[in-house]
């Protein structure tokens, strides 16, 4: 069953355009110039119940705008959306009982109070009885390992600790779906991993669907089975994470170490040398042009091998390639020129 259905979604904002300097400011006062910015254009996708779906893209791609339309906070300019059977902007309050959300850059916990106070407040807001509130707090504090943090004022928590409390708070009312907008932003590697592990566990234990936006491809790789990549408000890719890697993992990188020094100007046919040392070499090649076997044969005959490492490009690189391809396409360039400017 579809948890989210989005068809031909559009969202256009009106942004004031002002030239630099005092003259520009005065002109903007007298004759304001408005620019129509298409944050989301013709977006269509589905998400299944209990799915872990990654929604990624660079800054200004339209990710957060889409999330806010899905929660009912923003009204779209056009298109149809159904979230758990509700039209978000028309049935925002009914939908709110069924979904949770975390906007990573903004706190929802009360800043001067301990997190436990916000938990109890949210329990009341979601109309849970006292016994259920206590049970949920007990369950979530254990799952998120936040027992020791609950009674500390939120302002005194580290970002990682706060984010664990934020995500736990969004799950208090046992939502069927959570929308996480950059939940790992600003976190260190350990804190990121803890958040990812707990989100994954909550998905497994409670079958809560997770729509996750992130700049960090690592979040998607660790959590999601399917990914949607957006850029300039449009979907430029959607498929399984494994398919994404397969389609775009067309190059390999090889690190080799030898027992003896390598001859000067050592070359491998069909590969680009990234770094060469006396006892080792790092190279990259395109598997569609040069077979792996051909490269390894050349390397093996060059001397006595001590160590060989073959690696794929990171997901970040894969996504960068997709962005670049999308940006370079003629359709994209035409779309960029469509930004309408009008005088009001």
């Amino acid at each position: 069953m579809s948890a989210i259905t989005v068809r031909n979604l559009h969202k256009t904002f009106q942004a004031k355009h002002k030239a630099a300097g005092l003259q520009g400011s005065l002109r903007a006062l007298w004759k304001p110039e408005w620019q129509m910015v298409e944050a989301v254009r013709d977006l269509s996708f589905d998400m299944e119940d209990g799915e872990l779906l990654g929604f990624i893209g660079p800054n200004g791609a339209g990710k957060s705008t889409t999330i806010k339309i899905l929660t009912g906070i923003l009204h779209p300019t056009g298109g149809d959306v159904s979230v758990l059977g509700y039209v978000p902007w028309q049935q925002r309050r009914d939908l709110a009982y069924q979904i949770g959300s975390v906007f990573g850059q903004r706190p929802q916990l009360w800043y001067h109070l301990p997190a436990i106070d916000t938990f109890y407040l949210f329990g009341k807001i979601y109309e849970l009885d006292d016994k259920t509130i206590r049970q949920r707090i007990g369950f979530l504090t254990e799952a998120f390992e936040i027992q020791d943090l609950l009674e500390t004022p939120v302002r005194k928590l580290s970002l990682g600790q706060r984010m664990r409390c934020e995500v736990a708070a969004s799950l208090l009312h046992k939502p069927r779906l959570i929308l996480l907008d950059e939940p790992s932003i600003g976190l260190d590697v350990v804190a990121k991993q803890r958040i990812r592990d707990t989100i994954k566990r909550m998905n497994e234990v409670e079958n809560v669907g997770v729509l996750l936006t992130s700049h960090d491809a690592g979040d998607i790789e660790a959590l999601c089975k399917r990914v949607i990549i957006v850029n300039h408000g449009q979907i430029i890719y959607q498929d399984k994470v494994s398919a994404l890697k397969r389609s775009y993992l067309t190059s390999k990188q090889v690190d080799v170490r030898y027992a003896q020094p390598l001859p000067d100007n050592f070359q491998v046919a069909g590969a680009e040398i990234l770094k060469a040392g006396q006892y080792g070499i790092k190279l990259r090649f395109d598997t569609r042009i040069t077979p792996v076997e051909a490269v390894l044969t050349q390397l093996a005959t060059a001397g006595e091998l001590v160590d060989v490492t073959i690696s794929d490009p990171s997901l970040e690189e894969v996504i960068r390639t997709i962005y670049q391809q999308a940006d370079a396409s003629p359709a994209r360039r035409a779309a960029n020129g469509e930004v309408a400017r009008e005088r009001v």
Binding site: I73, H75, L113
Partner: protein, 261 residues
Amino acid sequence: MSKYWAVFKTQLLNNFAYAGDLAAGSVMIVLFLWIFAQLWKVTYSAVGTERIAGLSRQDTLWYLMLAEVIVLSKPRLARTIAQQVRDGSVAYLLNKPYHFLLYQCSVGLGDSVLRIVTNTLMGGAVVWLLVGPPPNPQGWPLVFVTVVLAWLLDFCITAMIGLAAFITEEVRAFEWIYQKILFILGGLLIPLDFYPSWLQTIAKATPFAYTLYGPARLFVEPSLLRFGEVVLGQVVWLAILAGLLTFFYQRGVTRLAINGG
């Protein structure tokens, strides 16, 4: 309603984190009332009568005490909503299962209650010391009702100013204008009875007079007739302003653009 009660209680708790702010507010009311006391002492001696427009110096000071308590205990609602729109945190307030305006009303009440208590105690103490005891305590329950309605009237106006942030983002200019209107037409600086009759007629018809002048005047001269007049005016204005507020909210929320993605 239990969710709004919980919001009110949480905001009340939150206010204990701002004990310094509460103390500063109390110092302000003491300072203002001391200045008013000196000003009206000179004015009454210059005029050379016991009463001006039916009010003694003692009445005038107790009137100003209540008007100042209402103004200085107002929640910083407009500024808070504008800040929430600017930094994007309004997103969290709109995606919860409550009515946004009732939520803001509960937060505002939680914000005001402690300040009303401390300002009344400090302001009352200073005026008592300077001009003598407060007016007839039998009228206090009636005054309490009108203060609650006055608070709601002010809530509707400041919430509308706050909602302007959905479109303009910045509301300080509107807030400033409203504050000055309260000074003049609300009767915060001078009881409206001291104005020329044409200006009294205009001022007393506005919602601003029902926010300050109505309750403060009832405080110094309580009567069931005056109470009835004030409450009737407050209820009529409340119906109009609450209707307008709901209309602006429904319009504003469809036009909302949230900053920072």
